[in-house]
Amino acid sequence: MRPGTGRRKRISSVFVAFCAGSVLLALVPLAFVLFFVVSQGIQSLNVAFFTHMPAPVGEPGGGMANAIVGTLILVGLGGIFAVPIGIMSGIYMSEYAGTWLASLVRFAADTLNGVPSIVVGVFVYGIAVLPFRQFSALAGGLALGIMMIPIIARTTEELLLLVPGTMREGALALGATHARAVFTVVVPSAAQGIITGIVLAIARIAGETAPLLFTSLNNRFFSTTLTQPMSSLTVQVYSYASSPYQDWHRQAWAGALVLVAIVLTGSLLARFATRRLESLSPR
């Protein structure tokens, strides 16, 4: 063997050990937190939780049915707003990477990502609540959507940039328009990654309270009206966790558990869907 090989091999082994160690290290707090949430939340999960509205303290059988539905609606609204803008912006940034507009969009996306959720909430309050004198689910969805955009856009951009140029060129050589080449060849080959971006964005906003406090407010009653305040798991959990009552605390934990479950289920479904998509795309 050449001299120096032993040292290089040792460095490599240390590196591999470090990577494996990182995984274990990250799993430790995860296990702790999960154990905490599950052990506290599972006690209060019952059928009533999923079918009843919040009850005043001391009355048994309260639930968060309206909050569960509300969260799904708000996240859905956010997604409807954010996914098209995010993906299209990401496509522009990667396809026309050298232009001044692409650099500007990238810069704007990174800045938007650092804006704290409460600032987004205050901004949307100013443009969508105050002028109409109305708290609404639409305003809440807008606030959540705004927070999702940069994550989706940047992830889409970075992944599209990594698609080998040969794929794009191949499609163009076969006579496809630019749009066709991008949408039928480039994007599907990065689909798994783009979905990761969307899932991350949803995970990011599904647990947010601050942007909803001044936009969709919250609602003790069941409501699917988009122009009225809408209940959400995060605000309800926050409200209960801030109270002095053990019963409400237990329900707050149950709510947190349901929230985590919703986000995970969504991510699993998304992965499953794109696995089929990826098996069809050329790679």
Binding site: C19, S22, V105, P116, V163, T177, A206, L264, S267
Partner: protein
């Protein structure tokens, strides 16, 4: 046919560009709104706002320095802790781990991201902070004289905040880094191995190839840390002070804004709070500019290297 194609391509460019423009306008609108709603405070305090350490709602004196300090300190620490681990995880999942282990590990990392920040905060108060307090109390006396470790062991403070932020940042950076690494063409790695590289060296080559994506992943994580509110405010002690000590309670911009916004009823107080939001906005802009410069210089050095060496096309093994 040609003209139709050109028109189609132009429409595509304009269409996607328009969406990008919406993003830019959104950010500009937020910035403008922040300025508008904090104008009274800007007029009253001017640049002193950035330099003063007093936060006195009763006397009407406001200064953002302790919050700027707390935000930057906690985010930097979090990044320092989280980035190596996140990259280690990304590398492990995409390069080193057996195929069967991959889906569950991906699932577990995303699980970390799915936990709402308020849950992290509550876990922080009941589990992390007491543990940190115990660690601080047991800390060797000799090291306690260092400015980093001075002060009584509250448990609540910069260390707890940095730890919690690191845990929250890890899944973001690692998920994106993982996707980025997955997209590095197989040819890159195979070429390295063919040349006799160790695993470390081959992976480093892949990381280098994907470096702008990796920096993007780190930036996204940093943005997450800068703006995180709920979890931080529950463990950092919420005490506006500028100090190096990891043990001392401190405060961040996002935390003070979230804490005091709903109760602030007089105009100057409200404006000062919004100005803190503006300061955070500006700082995010500055951090982004610096990292853009970093990426640009990285790309520049690659262009220079490419111009002076003769290298076969990287994707020849397509």
């Amino acid at each position: 046919m040609r003209a139709g194609r050109a028109a189609g391509d132009l429409a595509f460019r304009l269409g996607t560009g328009l969406f990008g423009l919406v993003l830019v306008l959104l950010v500009a609108a937020i910035g403008a709104e922040l300025v508008r709603q904090s104008w009274l405070s800007i007029e009253t305090f001017g640049l002193n706002f950035w330099r003063t350490s007093i936060w006195d709602p009763v006397a009407g004196e406001f200064g953002a320095l302790p919050f700027i300090w707390g935000t930057l300190y906690s985010s930097m620490l979090a990044l320092l802790l989280a980035t190596p681990i996140a990259l280690g995880i990304a590398v492990f999942i995409s390069e080193l781990c057996p195929n069967r282990l991959r889906p569950p590990l991906v699932f577990l990392t995303e699980l970390l991201a799915a936990i709402p920040s308020i849950v992290y905060g509550l876990w922080g108060i009941f589990v992390l902070v007491p543990a940190v307090r115990a660690a601080e109390t047991a800390f060797p006396q000799a090291l306690k004289s260092l400015p980093f470790f001075s002060g009584p062991p509250f448990g609540l403070g910069m260390l707890s905040a940095a730890l919690i932020l690191a845990v929250m940042v890890i899944p973001f950076t690692s998920s994106i880094a993982r996707e980025v690494l997955k997209s590095v063409p197989v040819a890159q790695r195979e070429g390295a191995y063919a040349l006799g590289a160790t695993r470390f060296e081959a992976i480093t080559a892949a990381l280098y190839y994907a470096r702008t994506g990796i920096v993007g992943a780190v930036l996204l994580g940093f943005g997450r840390a800068l703006g995180e509110t709920m979890a931080v405010t529950m463990v950092i002690g919420n005490s506006p002070k500028v100090t190096l000590s990891l043990f001392a309670p401190q405060h961040t911009m996002a935390a003070v804004l979230a804490n005091e916004f709903s109760e602030a009823a007089d105009d100057l107080y409200l404006n000062a709070l919004i100005e803190i939001g503006l300061v955070l906005f500006v700082i995010t802009l500055v951090v982004n500019s610096l990292s853009r410069l970093l990426i640009w210089s990285m790309a520049r050095s690659e262009r220079q290297a490419a111009a002076t060496t003769v290298v076969p096309a990287a994707e020849s093994a397509a």
